[in-house]
């Protein structure tokens, strides 16, 4: 049902970036995901909302291949990637960020982004220092700009504030040629100013890059996405435009009344 709603809305947009067919993931007896059907068009920006433990991160892990799904198929731009290892999915333009920042604390901000750009290129064993004119280096500089981190370009990452680390976490997903990005709670722990900055960064991403953003804060989700999927107990239970979701009584009861932080 919900999948059909999404499909009809996106009929004219052609190729899907992501298609999930009855994806499930069990951890022993625990059913973390079940019966997930999702169609996301290329360039679409989708928010996934749901209370703690709803299975949002598990959904991301299934898509990136960090944990393979127990059941179901996943297609990325029409290609079945269900059985591909994570790095093969990265080569195809899939990127993700983490709920808890996964950065290289001992390296500078620029070097972190440089490596993220380098990950899918050749000559990764080079013993030569990258020149400023190096293509990956130049991409890193422009990403640095895109995530508003120029002022801390050469600062070791362990010295950054939490907000800056979250911004860098986004930058790490922009290296290479991303086509679709999974953002896992990028706004968690950010101040109101930092949130505004984040919204600006996301809205300024090139139009061809689609994403799914997991977000607890409905206000943020509404301003960075065109369409919202609600998750609860490992299931998708509602999809709609931000306005529909905001005014849905069931959503208000389960999610907003669910006592989340």
């Amino acid at each position: 049902m919900t999948a059909n709603v999404a499909a009809s809305r996106l009929q004219d947009s052609g190729a899907y970036a992501l298609e999930l067919d009855s994806v499930a993931r069990h951890f022993g007896a625990l059913v973390a995901l079940t019966g997930i059907n999702m169609r996301i068009a290329a360039g679409e920006r989708r928010a996934v909302l749901g209370s703690n433990g709803a299975g949002k991160t598990t959904l991301f892990n299934a898509i990136t291949g960090d944990f393979l799904p127990t059941e179901g198929r996943i297609k990325f731009f029409g290609e079945d990637i269900t059985d591909l290892p994570p790095h093969e999915r990265i080569r195809r333009g899939l990127r993700r960020t983490y709920q808890i920042s996964q950065l290289f604390g001992g390296l500078s901000v620029l070097d972190n982004i440089y490596l993220a750009c380098r990950g899918v290129s050749r000559k990764r064993y080079s013993l030569i220092r990258p020149k400023p004119s190096d293509a990956n280096r130049m991409q890193a500089e422009s990403i640095l700009h895109a995530v508003h981190l120029e002022s801390v370009r050469d600062t070791p990452v362990s010295n950054l504030s939490h907000g800056q680390q979250r911004q860098l976490e986004i930058a790490m997903a922009l290296g290479g040629a991303p086509r679709f990005i999974l953002f896992d709670e990028p706004a968690a722990g950010l101040s109101p100013t930092e949130r505004r900055d984040l919204i600006e960064i996301l809205n300024a991403l090139p139009a061809h890059i689609g994403y799914i953003i997991i977000e607890h804060d409905l206000d943020v989700a509404l301003r960075v996405s065109e369409y919202v999927s609600m998750m609860h107990n490992g299931k998708l239970f509602k999809e709609g435009t931000p306005e529909e979701i905001e005014n849905d009584p069931q959503v208000q009861e389960i999610y907003l009344g669910g006592g989340h932080g």
């Binding site: 990136t64 790095h87 290289f104 390296l107 490596l115 990950g119 899918v120 064993y125 080079s126």
Partner: protein
């Protein structure tokens, strides 16, 4: 870009000097001038020996400081190189000793050391932290007992004697001054290579793997392969040190690569500090000076206690070794400076 074309030819040389830095230039001048003021004993037993053990500790520091992998087997890879020199070159032990020239034996020794290091690396990269230490300690111990019991290849307990540094273009590298300079060149090359490569693409990947292997995998790097390559390079440096060590001693025996020697390398690296490739050399000078002079003062029995206490004191006051103390001192001076200006 355009500026490069119009630059006059003198600038690149000046640029190079600027990039090397004043500290390095002063240090280089001191080390080059050292033979002018030092006795033969100080030249080889302190100078040469410190440079050799500094290289061994540098090989460990490359793995531990940049890659987060603590290895106790670096002395064993030096031993691989040393025994290669004994077996393929000339020795006095009437066993093997193919008599190959030094310019063939040396690259072969480095190659064997580096590949054996890569092999052990490949086995141990599946582990982390304390388990890497345990595996490499097991390797070092096994290597020691193996060469002690094997007489056909390693001549067992006595090992090989009569291993002499070559005479090249009339320069006898057995003599103290040429030997010192040979060690200085090898150590400088190793040091400069590590310092330069730390900021290379490979150097950055290694440090990133140390900080967060999960993210490295997630952005498309083959973490295991990068670690194994790091072990290969560490083995090259250990091998170079191993060749110099057998030329220094004139012999190699199981005692050269026993567990005490393995731990010695670790102590030097930790005392000096793992954060910068100069650390291992600072540590080596400290430990070699203590070994040479403290033994006379406190006696051989208490000597290990002394090193142990010194080690504990350093680790306690500065986890980053003497380099860390130096950093703390500089910071404090900078603060004093700020305060006095206010």
């Amino acid at each position: 870009m355009n500026a490069d074309v119009t630059q006059n030819p003198a600038t690149p040389a000046r640029n190079l000097l600027a990039r090397i830095g004043t500290g390095h230039l002063v240090l280089a001048a001191l080390l080059l001038a050292y033979p002018l003021v030092s006795s033969d004993f100080f030249l080889t037993q302190i100078g040469g020996y410190s440079l050799i053990f500094g290289m061994l500790a540098l090989s460990l520091s490359l793995l531990a400081g940049y890659g987060g992998m603590v290895s106790l087997a670096q002395i064993s890879f030096a031993g691989v190189a040393g025994y290669t020199v004994a077996i393929f070159g000339e020795n006095n032990s009437n066993i093997l000793g193919f008599g190959w020239p030094w310019w063939l034996v040396m690259p072969l020794a480095l190659f064997f050391a580096a590949t054996s290091s890569a092999l052990i690396g490949w086995v141990s990269v599946r582990t982390e932290g304390i388990y890497t230490i345990m595996i490499t300690l097991a390797v070092a111990t096994a290597a020691f007992y193996f060469v002690r019991q094997n007489y056909t290849l390693f001549n067992g307990f006595p090992g090989y004697t009569g291993l002499r540094a070559p005479i090249v273009f009339g320069v006898n590298f057995r003599d103290p001054v040429p030997f010192y300079y040979m060690c200085l060149v090898a150590a400088t090359l190793s040091y400069a290579a590590v310092l330069y490569a730390a900021r290379s693409t490979f150097g950055l990947t290694l440090q990133a793997i140390r900080d967060n292997p999960r993210r490295m995998r997630a952005i498309g790097f083959d973490v295991t392969a990068h670690k194994v390559v790091a072990w290969f390079y560490a083995g090259l440096i250990a091998g170079l040190a191993g060749v110099l060590l057998v030329w220094f001693n004139g012999r190699i025996s199981p005692g050269t690569i026993n567990v005490a020697a393995a731990i010695n390398v670790l102590i030097i690296a930790v005392i000096g500090g793992l954060k910068h490739p100069i650390g291992p050399f600072v540590g080596a000078v400290m430990v070699v000076l203590m070994q040479t002079f403290a033994i006379d003062i406190v006696g051989a029995e208490r000597f290990n206690t002394l090193i142990g206490v010194f080690f504990l004191a350093i680790v306690f006051f500065s986890p980053d070794g003497i380099l860390g103390l130096w950093g703390q001192l500089r910071q404090r001076l900078a603060q004093e400076d700020l305060r006095s200006r206010q």
